[in-house]
Protein backbone atom coordinates (compact mmCIF):
# COMPACT_ATOMS: atom_id res chain seq x y z
CA UNK A 1 0.00 0.00 0.00
CA UNK A 2 2.64 2.48 1.13
CA UNK A 3 4.88 1.31 -1.69
CA UNK A 4 2.27 2.19 -4.29
CA UNK A 5 1.28 5.42 -2.58
CA UNK A 6 4.84 6.73 -2.47
CA UNK A 7 5.32 5.69 -6.07
CA UNK A 8 2.26 7.69 -7.08
CA UNK A 9 3.38 10.55 -4.87
CA UNK A 10 6.75 10.87 -6.56
CA UNK A 11 5.11 10.51 -9.95
CA UNK A 12 2.87 13.44 -9.04
CA UNK A 13 5.92 15.47 -8.04
CA UNK A 14 7.57 14.68 -11.38
CA UNK A 15 4.38 15.80 -13.14
CA UNK A 16 4.36 19.06 -11.18
CA UNK A 17 7.94 19.71 -12.26
CA UNK A 18 7.10 18.93 -15.89
CA UNK A 19 4.11 21.27 -15.75
CA UNK A 20 6.34 23.94 -14.21
CA UNK A 21 8.81 23.50 -17.04
CA UNK A 22 6.08 23.62 -19.68
CA UNK A 23 4.61 26.77 -18.16
CA UNK A 24 8.18 28.10 -17.77
CA UNK A 25 7.56 29.15 -14.18
CA UNK A 26 11.23 29.81 -13.63
CA UNK A 27 10.84 32.29 -10.77
CA UNK A 28 8.92 29.69 -8.76
CA UNK A 29 10.72 26.47 -9.69
CA UNK A 30 14.14 27.89 -10.42
CA UNK A 31 14.54 30.61 -7.81
CA UNK A 32 11.94 30.48 -5.04
CA UNK A 33 11.87 26.72 -4.49
CA UNK A 34 15.63 26.13 -4.40
CA UNK A 35 16.29 28.95 -1.93
CA UNK A 36 13.32 28.01 0.23
CA UNK A 37 14.41 24.37 0.17
CA UNK A 38 17.98 25.10 1.25
CA UNK A 39 16.76 27.39 4.04
CA UNK A 40 14.28 24.78 5.23
CA UNK A 41 16.98 22.13 5.25
CA UNK A 42 19.52 24.17 7.20
CA UNK A 43 17.13 25.77 9.68
CA UNK A 44 15.10 22.59 10.07
CA UNK A 45 18.14 20.46 10.85
CA UNK A 46 19.45 23.03 13.32
CA UNK A 47 16.09 23.22 15.08
CA UNK A 48 15.88 19.44 15.34
CA UNK A 49 19.39 19.15 16.75
CA UNK A 50 18.82 21.94 19.29
CA UNK A 51 15.54 20.35 20.33
CA UNK A 52 17.29 17.02 20.85
CA UNK A 53 20.03 18.68 22.82
CA UNK A 54 17.44 20.20 25.14
CA UNK A 55 16.12 16.84 26.28
CA UNK A 56 18.13 15.65 29.25
CA UNK A 57 19.77 12.26 29.28
CA UNK A 58 20.04 11.72 33.02
CA UNK A 59 21.80 8.36 32.95
CA UNK A 60 24.54 6.81 30.92
CA UNK A 61 22.64 4.58 28.51
CA UNK A 62 25.18 3.30 25.98
CA UNK A 63 24.40 -0.05 24.44
CA UNK A 64 27.37 -2.10 25.46
CA UNK A 65 28.57 -4.80 23.15
CA UNK A 66 31.69 -5.93 24.93
CA UNK A 67 33.33 -6.51 28.27
CA UNK A 68 33.03 -3.60 30.62
CA UNK A 69 36.17 -2.15 32.18
CA UNK A 70 36.60 -4.11 35.34
CA UNK A 71 39.41 -5.81 37.18
CA UNK A 72 42.84 -5.43 35.60
CA UNK A 73 43.08 -9.09 34.58
CA UNK A 74 39.73 -9.05 32.74
CA UNK A 75 40.22 -7.92 29.17
CA UNK A 76 38.32 -4.71 28.54
CA UNK A 77 36.66 -4.04 25.19
CA UNK A 78 37.70 -0.43 24.67
CA UNK A 79 35.60 0.32 21.60
CA UNK A 80 32.51 -1.81 22.10
CA UNK A 81 32.20 -0.71 25.70
CA UNK A 82 34.11 2.58 25.88
CA UNK A 83 34.93 4.27 29.14
CA UNK A 84 36.76 7.28 27.71
CA UNK A 85 36.01 9.99 25.16
CA UNK A 86 38.58 8.42 22.82
CA UNK A 87 36.85 5.09 22.92
CA UNK A 88 33.58 6.85 22.17
CA UNK A 89 35.15 8.72 19.25
CA UNK A 90 36.45 5.49 17.70
CA UNK A 91 33.10 3.85 18.27
CA UNK A 92 31.27 6.78 16.67
CA UNK A 93 33.67 6.67 13.75
CA UNK A 94 32.78 3.04 13.10
CA UNK A 95 29.12 3.84 13.55
CA UNK A 96 29.01 6.84 11.25
CA UNK A 97 31.36 5.68 8.52
CA UNK A 98 30.89 1.92 8.57
CA UNK A 99 27.47 1.37 10.22
CA UNK A 100 28.94 -0.91 12.87
CA UNK A 101 25.64 -1.56 14.62
CA UNK A 102 23.91 -2.53 11.40
CA UNK A 103 26.73 -4.98 10.83
CA UNK A 104 25.37 -6.93 13.75
CA UNK A 105 22.05 -7.40 11.98
CA UNK A 106 20.74 -10.91 12.43
CA UNK A 107 18.10 -12.95 10.74
CA UNK A 108 15.73 -15.21 12.60
CA UNK A 109 14.15 -18.18 10.87
CA UNK A 110 11.80 -20.90 11.99
CA UNK A 111 12.81 -24.36 10.84
CA UNK A 112 11.14 -27.74 11.06
CA UNK A 113 11.07 -29.12 14.51
CA UNK A 114 9.97 -26.39 15.28
CA UNK A 115 13.29 -24.90 15.97
CA UNK A 116 14.43 -21.33 15.86
CA UNK A 117 17.59 -20.44 13.99
CA UNK A 118 19.47 -17.17 14.17
CA UNK A 119 22.14 -16.19 11.72
CA UNK A 120 24.13 -13.21 10.62
CA UNK A 121 22.60 -11.17 7.79
CA UNK A 122 24.83 -8.66 6.08
CA UNK A 123 22.76 -7.69 3.04
CA UNK A 124 21.03 -4.73 4.64
CA UNK A 125 24.35 -3.48 5.97
CA UNK A 126 26.03 -3.87 2.59
CA UNK A 127 23.29 -2.17 0.61
CA UNK A 128 23.00 0.57 3.21
CA UNK A 129 26.70 1.23 3.15
CA UNK A 130 26.82 1.18 -0.67
CA UNK A 131 23.88 3.56 -0.85
CA UNK A 132 25.11 6.07 1.71
CA UNK A 133 28.66 6.20 0.43
CA UNK A 134 27.51 6.60 -3.16
CA UNK A 135 25.21 9.39 -2.11
CA UNK A 136 28.04 11.17 -0.30
CA UNK A 137 30.40 10.82 -3.27
CA UNK A 138 27.71 12.04 -5.66
CA UNK A 139 27.08 15.02 -3.40
CA UNK A 140 30.79 15.87 -3.33
CA UNK A 141 31.00 15.45 -7.11
CA UNK A 142 28.16 17.90 -7.57
CA UNK A 143 30.31 20.62 -6.03
CA UNK A 144 31.79 21.04 -9.49
CA UNK A 145 28.60 22.86 -10.38
CA UNK A 146 28.86 25.10 -7.34
CA UNK A 147 32.47 26.24 -7.41
CA UNK A 148 34.23 28.31 -10.00
CA UNK A 149 37.66 26.86 -9.27
CA UNK A 150 36.79 23.23 -8.65
CA UNK A 151 38.55 22.17 -5.43
CA UNK A 152 41.17 19.46 -5.67
CA UNK A 153 39.22 17.10 -3.40
CA UNK A 154 36.26 17.28 -5.78
CA UNK A 155 38.35 16.59 -8.89
CA UNK A 156 40.01 13.63 -7.19
CA UNK A 157 36.65 12.19 -6.15
CA UNK A 158 35.44 12.56 -9.71
CA UNK A 159 38.59 11.03 -11.15
CA UNK A 160 38.41 8.00 -8.87
CA UNK A 161 34.69 7.57 -9.44
CA UNK A 162 35.14 7.48 -13.21
CA UNK A 163 38.38 5.54 -12.95
CA UNK A 164 37.17 2.64 -15.10
CA UNK A 165 36.87 4.96 -18.12
CA UNK A 166 33.80 3.20 -19.47
CA UNK A 167 32.05 5.04 -22.31
CA UNK A 168 31.68 8.77 -22.63
CA UNK A 169 30.73 10.78 -20.69
CA UNK A 170 32.76 8.56 -18.36
CA UNK A 171 30.63 6.22 -16.31
CA UNK A 172 30.61 7.03 -12.61
CA UNK A 173 30.64 3.83 -10.59
CA UNK A 174 28.54 5.43 -7.86
CA UNK A 175 25.72 6.06 -10.35
CA UNK A 176 25.33 2.33 -10.85
CA UNK A 177 25.88 1.51 -7.20
CA UNK A 178 23.32 3.97 -5.87
CA UNK A 179 20.60 2.84 -8.27
CA UNK A 180 21.34 -0.81 -7.52
CA UNK A 181 21.42 -0.27 -3.77
CA UNK A 182 18.17 1.71 -3.66
CA UNK A 183 16.48 -0.90 -5.81
CA UNK A 184 17.60 -3.56 -3.36
CA UNK A 185 16.48 -1.54 -0.34
CA UNK A 186 13.10 -0.92 -1.94
CA UNK A 187 12.42 -4.52 -2.90
CA UNK A 188 13.65 -5.67 0.49
CA UNK A 189 10.76 -3.78 2.00
CA UNK A 190 8.29 -5.00 -0.60
CA UNK A 191 9.24 -8.68 -0.72
CA UNK A 192 10.22 -9.74 2.82
CA UNK A 193 6.84 -10.14 4.57
CA UNK A 194 8.04 -9.15 8.05
CA UNK A 195 9.72 -5.98 6.75
CA UNK A 196 6.80 -5.16 4.50
CA UNK A 197 4.49 -5.45 7.52
CA UNK A 198 6.33 -2.76 9.44
CA UNK A 199 7.00 -0.45 6.45
CA UNK A 200 5.15 2.81 6.21
CA UNK A 201 4.77 5.27 3.33
CA UNK A 202 7.50 7.29 5.08
CA UNK A 203 9.83 4.35 4.52
CA UNK A 204 9.11 3.92 0.83
CA UNK A 205 8.78 7.55 -0.15
CA UNK A 206 12.40 8.62 0.43
CA UNK A 207 13.63 5.56 -1.46
CA UNK A 208 11.46 6.30 -4.46
CA UNK A 209 12.30 10.00 -4.28
CA UNK A 210 16.06 9.44 -4.15
CA UNK A 211 15.83 6.81 -6.87
CA UNK A 212 14.06 9.36 -9.07
CA UNK A 213 16.67 12.01 -8.33
CA UNK A 214 19.53 9.64 -9.16
CA UNK A 215 17.61 8.31 -12.15
CA UNK A 216 16.94 11.74 -13.61
CA UNK A 217 20.60 12.62 -13.10
CA UNK A 218 21.73 9.46 -14.88
CA UNK A 219 19.31 10.14 -17.74
CA UNK A 220 20.64 13.69 -18.07
CA UNK A 221 24.28 12.67 -18.06
CA UNK A 222 24.27 9.56 -20.22
CA UNK A 223 21.10 9.58 -22.30
CA UNK A 224 18.88 12.56 -23.00
CA UNK A 225 21.67 15.11 -22.39
CA UNK A 226 21.26 18.62 -21.15
CA UNK A 227 23.00 21.88 -21.88
CA UNK A 228 25.52 21.43 -19.11
CA UNK A 229 27.22 24.82 -19.48
CA UNK A 230 23.80 26.40 -19.08
CA UNK A 231 23.18 24.28 -16.01
CA UNK A 232 26.39 25.44 -14.37
CA UNK A 233 25.71 29.06 -15.28
CA UNK A 234 22.35 28.64 -13.53
CA UNK A 235 23.68 26.86 -10.43
CA UNK A 236 26.49 29.41 -10.08
CA UNK A 237 23.96 32.22 -10.30
CA UNK A 238 22.03 30.59 -7.44
CA UNK A 239 24.98 30.24 -5.08
CA UNK A 240 26.36 33.70 -5.86
CA UNK A 241 22.94 35.03 -4.81
CA UNK A 242 22.41 36.69 -8.16
CA UNK A 243 19.78 34.30 -9.49
CA UNK A 244 19.05 34.18 -13.21
CA UNK A 245 15.65 35.47 -14.17
CA UNK A 246 15.05 32.71 -16.70
CA UNK A 247 16.30 29.18 -17.17
CA UNK A 248 19.06 28.98 -19.80
CA UNK A 249 17.82 27.53 -23.08
CA UNK A 250 18.52 23.90 -23.79
CA UNK A 251 18.69 22.53 -20.25
CA UNK A 252 15.52 20.59 -20.88
CA UNK A 253 12.54 19.48 -18.83
CA UNK A 254 14.53 16.71 -17.18
CA UNK A 255 16.70 19.26 -15.42
CA UNK A 256 13.58 20.91 -14.02
CA UNK A 257 12.48 17.51 -12.72
CA UNK A 258 15.89 16.80 -11.18
CA UNK A 259 15.99 20.22 -9.52
CA UNK A 260 12.44 20.07 -8.21
CA UNK A 261 12.90 16.60 -6.74
CA UNK A 262 16.07 17.74 -4.99
CA UNK A 263 14.13 20.70 -3.55
CA UNK A 264 11.46 18.30 -2.31
CA UNK A 265 14.15 16.12 -0.72
CA UNK A 266 15.66 19.12 1.06
CA UNK A 267 12.30 20.24 2.39
CA UNK A 268 11.30 16.71 3.38
CA UNK A 269 14.62 16.02 5.07
CA UNK A 270 14.35 17.72 8.49
CA UNK A 271 10.83 16.50 9.23
CA UNK A 272 11.28 12.87 8.33
CA UNK A 273 13.33 9.78 9.18
CA UNK A 274 16.04 11.15 6.92
CA UNK A 275 17.09 13.38 9.77
CA UNK A 276 19.00 10.36 11.09
CA UNK A 277 21.88 12.09 9.30
CA UNK A 278 22.06 14.40 12.34
CA UNK A 279 20.50 11.90 14.70
CA UNK A 280 23.29 9.38 14.44
CA UNK A 281 25.57 11.87 16.17
CA UNK A 282 23.02 12.56 18.88
CA UNK A 283 22.12 8.99 19.81
CA UNK A 284 22.93 8.54 23.51
CA UNK A 285 23.22 4.78 23.15
CA UNK A 286 26.25 5.40 20.95
CA UNK A 287 27.79 8.68 22.01
CA UNK A 288 28.10 8.08 25.75
CA UNK A 289 30.98 6.50 27.55
CA UNK A 290 30.02 3.68 29.85
CA UNK A 291 31.65 5.17 32.93
CA UNK A 292 28.77 4.97 35.39
CA UNK A 293 30.99 3.17 37.88
CA UNK A 294 33.96 5.48 37.44
CA UNK A 295 32.46 8.97 37.41
CA UNK A 296 29.63 10.24 39.58
CA UNK A 297 26.81 11.42 37.34
CA UNK A 298 24.39 13.87 38.85
CA UNK A 299 20.96 14.32 37.39
CA UNK A 300 21.13 17.62 35.49
CA UNK A 301 17.83 18.90 36.87
CA UNK A 302 18.57 17.83 40.42
CA UNK A 303 17.69 20.66 42.86
CA UNK A 304 20.55 21.59 45.11
CA UNK A 305 20.11 20.11 48.63
CA UNK A 306 21.58 22.56 51.06
CA UNK A 307 21.21 20.39 54.11
CA UNK A 308 19.80 21.20 57.55
CA UNK A 309 22.00 21.43 60.60
CA UNK A 310 21.10 20.92 64.25
CA UNK A 311 21.50 24.67 64.82
CA UNK A 312 18.77 25.36 62.24
CA UNK A 313 16.58 22.78 63.88
CA UNK A 314 17.10 24.25 67.33
CA UNK A 315 16.48 27.78 66.09
CA UNK A 316 13.11 26.69 64.72
CA UNK A 317 11.94 24.74 67.74
CA UNK A 318 13.79 26.32 70.69
CA UNK A 319 10.72 27.74 72.46
CA UNK A 320 8.85 24.49 72.17
CA UNK A 321 11.87 22.52 73.30
CA UNK A 322 12.36 24.70 76.38
CA UNK A 323 8.67 24.55 77.23
CA UNK A 324 8.69 20.75 77.36
CA UNK A 325 12.09 20.68 79.07
CA UNK A 326 14.27 19.41 76.27
CA UNK A 327 17.80 20.66 76.82
CA UNK A 328 18.98 23.25 74.27
CA UNK A 329 22.46 24.42 73.41
CA UNK A 330 21.64 28.10 73.25
CA UNK A 331 19.28 29.80 75.65
CA UNK A 332 16.39 31.98 74.52
CA UNK A 333 18.10 35.20 75.59
CA UNK A 334 21.24 34.47 73.52
CA UNK A 335 19.36 33.55 70.38
CA UNK A 336 17.11 36.58 70.68
CA UNK A 337 19.99 38.85 69.80
CA UNK A 338 20.08 38.08 66.03
CA UNK A 339 16.32 38.50 65.92
CA UNK A 340 16.64 41.89 67.55
CA UNK A 341 19.19 42.87 64.97
CA UNK A 342 16.77 42.00 62.22
CA UNK A 343 14.24 44.43 63.61
Amino acid sequence: MGAIMSFVGVLALVLIAILGAKANLHLVFGVLFPYAAVLTLLIGLTVRVVRWAKSPVPFRIPTTCGQQKSLPWIKHSRIENPTTIWGVLVRMFFEVFLFRSLFRNTKIEMHKGPHLAQGSSKWLWMAGLAFHWSFLIILIRHLRFFTEEVPFAVSVTEYLDSFLQIGVPLLYMTDLVILGAITFLYFRRVIIPQVSYISLPADYFPLVLIFSIAGSGVLMRYFTKTHIVGVKAYTMSLVSLRPMMSMPEGVGTIFWVHLFLVCVLFVYFPWSKLVHMAGVFMSPTRNMANNSRIVRHVNPWQTKYKGRTYVDYENDFREKMISVGVPVEKQESESAEPAAEKE
Binding site: L41, L42, R144, E148, V168, K225, K232, S240, F281
Partner: protein, 132 residues
Protein backbone atom coordinates in the same frame (compact mmCIF):
# COMPACT_ATOMS: atom_id res chain seq x y z
CA UNK B 1 20.55 22.69 26.12
CA UNK B 2 22.86 19.98 27.41
CA UNK B 3 26.40 19.42 26.14
CA UNK B 4 26.17 22.86 24.60
CA UNK B 5 29.81 23.03 23.57
CA UNK B 6 29.86 19.81 21.60
CA UNK B 7 26.48 20.33 19.96
CA UNK B 8 27.33 23.85 18.84
CA UNK B 9 30.70 22.77 17.44
CA UNK B 10 28.94 20.00 15.50
CA UNK B 11 26.33 22.39 14.14
CA UNK B 12 28.93 24.96 13.14
CA UNK B 13 30.96 22.32 11.28
CA UNK B 14 27.85 21.08 9.48
CA UNK B 15 26.64 24.55 8.54
CA UNK B 16 30.17 25.45 7.44
CA UNK B 17 30.25 22.58 4.99
CA UNK B 18 26.64 22.98 3.88
CA UNK B 19 26.91 26.68 3.11
CA UNK B 20 30.36 26.45 1.52
CA UNK B 21 29.05 26.99 -2.04
CA UNK B 22 27.31 30.16 -0.90
CA UNK B 23 30.04 31.97 1.03
CA UNK B 24 32.57 30.83 -1.51
CA UNK B 25 30.70 32.47 -4.39
CA UNK B 26 28.54 35.17 -2.92
CA UNK B 27 28.32 38.22 -5.15
CA UNK B 28 30.80 36.83 -7.67
CA UNK B 29 29.88 37.04 -11.29
CA UNK B 30 31.29 34.05 -13.12
CA UNK B 31 32.00 34.25 -16.81
CA UNK B 32 30.02 31.71 -18.80
CA UNK B 33 32.27 30.28 -21.50
CA UNK B 34 31.39 30.61 -25.14
CA UNK B 35 33.39 28.28 -27.38
CA UNK B 36 35.28 30.38 -29.90
CA UNK B 37 34.56 29.60 -33.57
CA UNK B 38 37.01 32.05 -35.13
CA UNK B 39 39.66 29.95 -36.83
CA UNK B 40 41.22 30.38 -40.27
CA UNK B 41 39.38 27.38 -41.73
CA UNK B 42 35.96 28.24 -40.31
CA UNK B 43 36.32 31.88 -41.40
CA UNK B 44 36.79 30.72 -44.99
CA UNK B 45 33.75 28.42 -44.99
CA UNK B 46 30.84 29.65 -47.06
CA UNK B 47 28.28 27.67 -45.10
CA UNK B 48 29.46 27.47 -41.53
CA UNK B 49 28.29 24.00 -40.59
CA UNK B 50 29.56 21.13 -38.50
CA UNK B 51 28.62 17.48 -39.12
CA UNK B 52 25.54 17.87 -36.93
CA UNK B 53 23.58 20.88 -35.62
CA UNK B 54 24.94 22.75 -32.62
CA UNK B 55 22.52 21.24 -30.08
CA UNK B 56 23.48 17.69 -31.05
CA UNK B 57 27.20 18.43 -31.16
CA UNK B 58 26.95 20.02 -27.71
CA UNK B 59 25.54 16.92 -26.11
CA UNK B 60 26.86 14.11 -28.26
CA UNK B 61 30.33 15.10 -29.49
CA UNK B 62 32.00 12.76 -27.04
CA UNK B 63 29.94 9.80 -28.19
CA UNK B 64 30.67 10.60 -31.82
CA UNK B 65 34.37 10.72 -31.08
CA UNK B 66 34.15 7.47 -29.19
CA UNK B 67 32.46 5.76 -32.13
CA UNK B 68 35.13 7.06 -34.47
CA UNK B 69 37.83 5.78 -32.18
CA UNK B 70 36.20 2.35 -32.11
CA UNK B 71 35.82 2.10 -35.90
CA UNK B 72 39.32 3.39 -36.58
CA UNK B 73 41.39 1.86 -33.80
CA UNK B 74 39.48 -1.35 -33.10
CA UNK B 75 37.94 -2.15 -36.49
CA UNK B 76 40.72 -0.62 -38.58
CA UNK B 77 38.33 1.24 -40.82
CA UNK B 78 38.77 4.96 -41.39
CA UNK B 79 35.69 6.50 -42.90
CA UNK B 80 35.44 9.84 -44.66
CA UNK B 81 32.90 12.55 -44.00
CA UNK B 82 31.94 15.60 -45.96
CA UNK B 83 31.65 19.04 -44.47
CA UNK B 84 30.76 21.90 -46.77
CA UNK B 85 31.77 19.88 -49.81
CA UNK B 86 35.18 18.98 -48.39
CA UNK B 87 36.08 15.38 -47.63
CA UNK B 88 37.65 14.98 -44.24
CA UNK B 89 38.87 11.99 -42.23
CA UNK B 90 36.77 10.83 -39.28
CA UNK B 91 39.52 11.78 -36.94
CA UNK B 92 40.01 14.04 -33.96
CA UNK B 93 43.33 15.34 -35.15
CA UNK B 94 42.62 15.56 -38.88
CA UNK B 95 38.84 16.01 -38.64
CA UNK B 96 37.62 18.08 -35.71
CA UNK B 97 40.82 19.94 -35.10
CA UNK B 98 41.18 20.68 -38.82
CA UNK B 99 38.49 23.32 -38.51
CA UNK B 100 38.52 23.85 -34.76
CA UNK B 101 42.21 24.54 -34.62
CA UNK B 102 41.89 26.47 -31.37
CA UNK B 103 41.73 23.80 -28.67
CA UNK B 104 42.34 26.29 -25.86
CA UNK B 105 39.49 28.57 -26.82
CA UNK B 106 37.18 25.85 -28.15
CA UNK B 107 37.54 22.51 -26.33
CA UNK B 108 39.06 23.75 -23.12
CA UNK B 109 36.68 26.68 -22.68
CA UNK B 110 33.76 24.50 -21.55
CA UNK B 111 35.78 21.54 -20.30
CA UNK B 112 37.71 23.70 -17.85
CA UNK B 113 34.57 25.53 -16.77
CA UNK B 114 32.94 22.22 -15.88
CA UNK B 115 36.10 20.51 -14.67
CA UNK B 116 35.79 17.86 -17.36
CA UNK B 117 39.09 16.22 -18.17
CA UNK B 118 38.67 14.23 -21.36
CA UNK B 119 41.29 11.56 -21.85
CA UNK B 120 41.70 12.39 -25.57
CA UNK B 121 44.96 14.03 -24.68
CA UNK B 122 46.37 10.96 -22.96
CA UNK B 123 47.24 9.74 -26.49
CA UNK B 124 46.79 12.74 -28.80
CA UNK B 125 49.27 15.52 -28.41
CA UNK B 126 47.98 19.05 -27.94
CA UNK B 127 47.58 20.63 -31.36
CA UNK B 128 49.26 23.87 -32.37
CA UNK B 129 46.89 26.73 -31.71
CA UNK B 130 45.70 28.49 -34.83
CA UNK B 131 42.98 31.06 -34.35
CA UNK B 132 42.12 34.39 -35.82
Amino acid sequence: MYDKGKVIVGLVVFLGFATFPFYNNIGKKSAVPEPNLKTPVIEQMVVKKCIEPKEIMRGEHMQILNQWRDTVVREGERKKMTIGGVEIDTSLQKGCLHCHSNKKKFCDACHNYLSVKPYCWDCHFDPKERDV
